[in-house]
C-alpha cells in the first residue's frame, strides 16, 4: 500500500471515529446517569439527519440555519423519548426499561419509514463540505477534516459543561447517587432531561456530519451505527466521556484499517465491532478507561 493511500485511509478512519465518538458520548452519558442502554439513541441520530434534510430541501433554509434548528428539534425529541418511554419505568426492573427502550427504538424507526418513506434520499451537501483538498498527492474531501475539528469543539464544550458548570456538577452527582443528589436539592428529573438533550444534540451533530460524508439517508440508517457506538462506549469504559471518545476513534480506525489491509473481509465489516465488544467484555469488562468496581451484593 502506498503512503498516500495509507494517509487517505487514516483520514477516513479518523473522521469515522469522530462520528462514532460523538454518538457514543450520548450512550455513555445516559448510561452513566440511568444505567440504561438508550436503544433509541441510534434512531435519534437518524431523525436528526432527516430533520436537517427536510429543513434544507423542503423549507429551503440555508444549511447553517437548518443545522442549528435540526439540532434544537433533536434535543427536544431526545427529551421526549425519555419522558414517555423511560421516566414512567424508572423504579422498575432494568429488563422492563430495556424492553421499553427497544420498543421506542423500533417505534421511531417504523414511524420514520411511514413518514419519510423507505426509499433512500440524498442529502444535499453544501459545496464547502464537498471540496476536494490535495495535500502531498493525497486527495481528501474537506468534510473529512471538518468532522474531527467540529468533534473536538463539541467535546471541549461538553467537557466544560460537565466539569465546570453547576449543571455539570449536578449531572455528576446524579450519576453517582440519585437519592443523595435529590437530598442536595438537585432536581433529578430535570438533570436527566438535560442529559438526554445534550446526548441527543451530539447525536444530531454526528448525524448531520454523517449525512455530509455519506449522503444517503435511510430510516434504518441509525440501527447499525447506534449499536456500534454503544460498543464504542463500552470499549472505552461506559459512563466515562473520554472513554467513549477513545472507543469511538478506536472503532472507526479499526474498521477502516482492517478493510484497507484485508479487503477480502469487507463483507464482515459490521461484525468487527461486535467481535471487539465480546473480546473487551471478556478481557476487561469495565472498558479501557473504566474503573474496576467490585460486585455489590
Amino acid at each position: 500500500m502506498s503512503v498516500q493511500l495509507f494517509f487517505q485511509h487514516l483520514a477516513n478512519g479518523l473522521s469515522l471515529g469522530s462520528l462514532y465518538a460523538l454518538i457514543a458520548i450520548g450512550y455513555t452519558m445516559v448510561y452513566g446517569i440511568l444505567r440504561l442502554i438508550n436503544f433509541a439513541h441510534g434512531e435519534i441520530f437518524m431523525i436528526g439527519v432527516y430533520i436537517a434534510f427536510y429543513l434544507v430541501t423542503l423549507f429551503v433554509l440555508p444549511w447553517f440555519a437548518a443545522f442549528v434548528v435540526a439540532l434544537g428539534i433533536t434535543c427536544i425529541l431526545g427529551m421526549g423519548v425519555e419522558r414517555i418511554a423511560y421516566r414512567p419505568l424508572r423504579d422498575h426492573p432494568r429488563i422492563s426499561v430495556m424492553i421499553s427502550a427497544i420498543g421506542a427504538s423500533f417505534f421511531i424507526q417504523n414511524l420514520a419509514i411511514v413518514v419519510f418513506g423507505g426509499r433512500p434520499k440524498t442529502f444535499p451537501v453544501p459545496p464547502v463540505f464537498g471540496k476536494i483538498i490535495t495535500i502531498g498527492g493525497v486527495n481528501i474531501v474537506s468534510i473529512t477534516f471538518i468532522i474531527p475539528i467540529i468533534t473536538f469543539i463539541a467535546l471541549a464544550i461538553l467537557l466544560f459543561i460537565v466539569n465546570k458548570t453547576k449543571t455539570g456538577m449536578a449531572m455528576r452527582a446524579v450519576s453517582t447517587d440519585h437519592e443523595t443528589a435529590r437530598l442536595m436539592a438537585i432536581d433529578v428529573d430535570i438533570i436527566i432531561s438535560i442529559t438526554f438533550a445534550i446526548g441527543s444534540g451530539l447525536a444530531a451533530i454526528g448525524g448531520i456530519m454523517w449525512g455530509l460524508k455519506y449522503p444517503q439517508l435511510l430510516p434504518i440508517m441509525g440501527l447499525i451505527p447506534g449499536l456500534k457506538c454503544f460498543i464504542a462506549a463500552v470499549v472505552g469504559g461506559i459512563g466515562n466521556i473520554k472513554g467513549a471518545v477513545l472507543g469511538g476513534f478506536l472503532l472507526g480506525l479499526m474498521e477502516i484499517m482492517i478493510i484497507a489491509f484485508l479487503p477480502s473481509l469487507s463483507g464482515y465489516r459490521d461484525a468487527f465491532a461486535f467481535i471487539l465488544l465480546i473480546v473487551i467484555l471478556l478481557v476487561r469488562p469495565s472498558g479501557i478507561l473504566g474503573s474496576v468496581q467490585g460486585e455489590k451484593v
Binding site: I99, A104, N110, F274, L281
Partner: protein, 350 residues
C-alpha cells in the same frame, strides 16, 4: 384440590379435544388462514424458547434470531433435493459435502436444533459470564455475527440471495405438534429441580449460589436448551415460508418474539402460548392498515409500514402501562380453571 391422576386425565382429554380441533381446522381452513394458524404454532415454540432463557432464568438475551437462522439453514440445506440446490447456488456452487445430501424432514429438523444448540453452547461459555445489559448487547452481537457470516459464506448458505423453493413440510400437525411437545417439555423442565434452580437464579443470583446452585452450569443449560428449541422453530418457519435469507433473521425477528413473551407474561408458559396466538393473529389483522381502507363515507390511503408502528407502540404500551403482561407469572391449572367455572356458575344462580 385435584389428585395428580385426575390432572393427567384432564390433560389427556384436553389433548384429544385439541387434536380434534387441529384436525377440523386442517380440513376446513382456507390456505391463508391455515398459514397463519401454522405460524402461530411456530411462534408458540419460539416464544417458549425465549421465555425459558429470559423469563425463567432471568438472562436477558437478544440473539435469538441467530439461533433460528442456524436451525433454518441447517434444516433447509439437509432437506433440499440436489437439483434444487444447483438451481439455488448459481453464483458459486455449493460445498461438495452438502451437494448430494437429502434427509427426511424429522432428522433434518432435529439436526437443525442440535446445531443451533451447539452454537448456543459455544456462545454461552464466554457470554454468560456477563450480566444484564452487557449480556443483552453481547448476545445481540453474536446474533448479528451469525447473520453476517451467513451473508458472506456464499458456497455454504448462498449468501444474501438466500435459499428459495424449500419443500413446504411444515403442516398444521408439525407446527402444533412441536409446539405441544415443547409445552410438555417446558412444564416438566420448569417443575424439575433444574427449573427450580433457574427460577432461583432469576430471583437472586447470590442467594441461589449460597444455596449451592452452580450458577454457570444452570445458565449454560438454560441457554443451550433455549437455542435448540429456537433452532427447531427457525427450521419450521423456513419450511413454512418456503424461502429463507439472512435478512429474515435480523434483530426484528428477535423483537417480535420478545413482544410475544412480554405480552404473555415474562415467566409464564401459558402466557407465551396465548401471547403467540394473539400476536400472530393481530399482526395479520393489522395488515389492513397497510392497504387502503374504505370506511363507507371516506377512504383512508394505507401507508405501508403502519402496521409495525402500531405494533411497536403496542409493545411500549404493554411494558409501560401493563408490565405483567396477560398472565404475569401465573400458569393455567385445572384447579384454577374449575374454580373459575364454579365462581361463574355461582354468580349466574344468584
Amino acid at each position: 384440590m385435584m389428585t395428580k391422576r385426575q390432572n393427567i386425565m384432564y390433560t389427556l382429554a384436553a389433548l384429544v379435544v385439541f387434536a380434534g380441533i387441529l384436525f377440523l381446522l386442517d380440513e376446513n381452513l382456507g390456505a391463508y388462514p391455515k398459514r397463519i394458524f401454522i405460524l402461530a404454532g411456530i411462534y408458540v415454540t419460539l416464544a417458549l424458547s425465549l421465555n425459558l432463557i429470559n423469563g425463567f432464568t432471568g438472562l436477558f438475551t437478544l440473539g435469538h434470531a441467530g439461533f433460528m437462522a442456524v436451525g433454518a439453514y441447517t434444516c433447509a440445506l439437509l432437506t433440499m433435493p440436489p437439483d434444487l440446490k444447483t438451481m439455488n447456488f448459481f453464483l458459486k456452487p455449493i460445498v461438495p459435502f452438502l451437494a448430494n445430501v437429502q434427509w427426511p424432514f424429522l432428522p433434518a429438523l432435529l439436526m437443525g436444533g442440535v446445531l443451533a444448540g451447539v452454537i448456543g453452547f459455544l456462545i454461552a461459555a464466554p457470554v454468560l459470564r456477563l450480566r444484564d445489559d452487557y449480556l443483552a448487547i453481547a448476545t445481540l452481537g453474536f446474533g448479528e455475527i451469525i447473520r453476517i457470516i451467513f451473508t458472506n459464506t456464499q458456497s455454504l448458505t448462498n449468501g444474501a440471495l438466500g435459499l428459495k423453493g424449500l419443500p413446504r413440510f411444515t403442516t398444521v400437525w408439525w407446527s402444533w405438534g412441536i409446539a405441544a411437545v415443547t409445552v410438555f417439555f417446558m412444564v416438566n423442565l420448569i417443575n424439575s429441580s433444574y427449573g427450580k434452580a433457574f427460577k432461583a437464579i432469576r430471583e437472586d443470583e447470590v442467594a441461589a449460589e449460597a444455596m449451592g446452585i452452580n450458577l454457570f452450569k444452570h445458565k449454560v443449560i438454560s441457554f443451550t436448551i433455549g437455542s435448540v428449541i429456537a433452532g427447531i422453530g427457525g427450521a419450521l418457519m423456513g419450511h413454512l415460508l418456503g424461502a429463507i435469507d439472512p435478512l429474515m433473521f435480523r434483530f426484528l425477528m428477535t423483537f417480535n418474539i420478545l413482544l410475544i413473551v412480554v405480552l404473555g407474561g415474562i415467566g409464564s408458559i401459558t402466557g407465551s402460548v396465548i401471547g403467540a396466538v394473539i400476536v400472530t393473529i393481530v399482526m395479520e389483522a393489522l395488515r389492513v392498515l397497510d392497504g387502503t381502507m374504505h370506511l363507507g363515507f371516506m377512504t383512508i390511503a394505507g401507508k405501508p409500514g403502519m402496521r409495525m408502528v402500531i405494533f411497536s407502540a403496542l409493545l411500549m404500551a404493554v411494558v409501560i402501562l401493563y408490565q405483567k403482561g396477560l398472565m404475569g407469572r401465573n400458569e393455567f391449572t385445572w384447579d384454577g380453571f374449575f374454580q373459575r367455572l364454579h365462581r361463574m356458575s355461582g354468580r349466574k344462580k344468584r
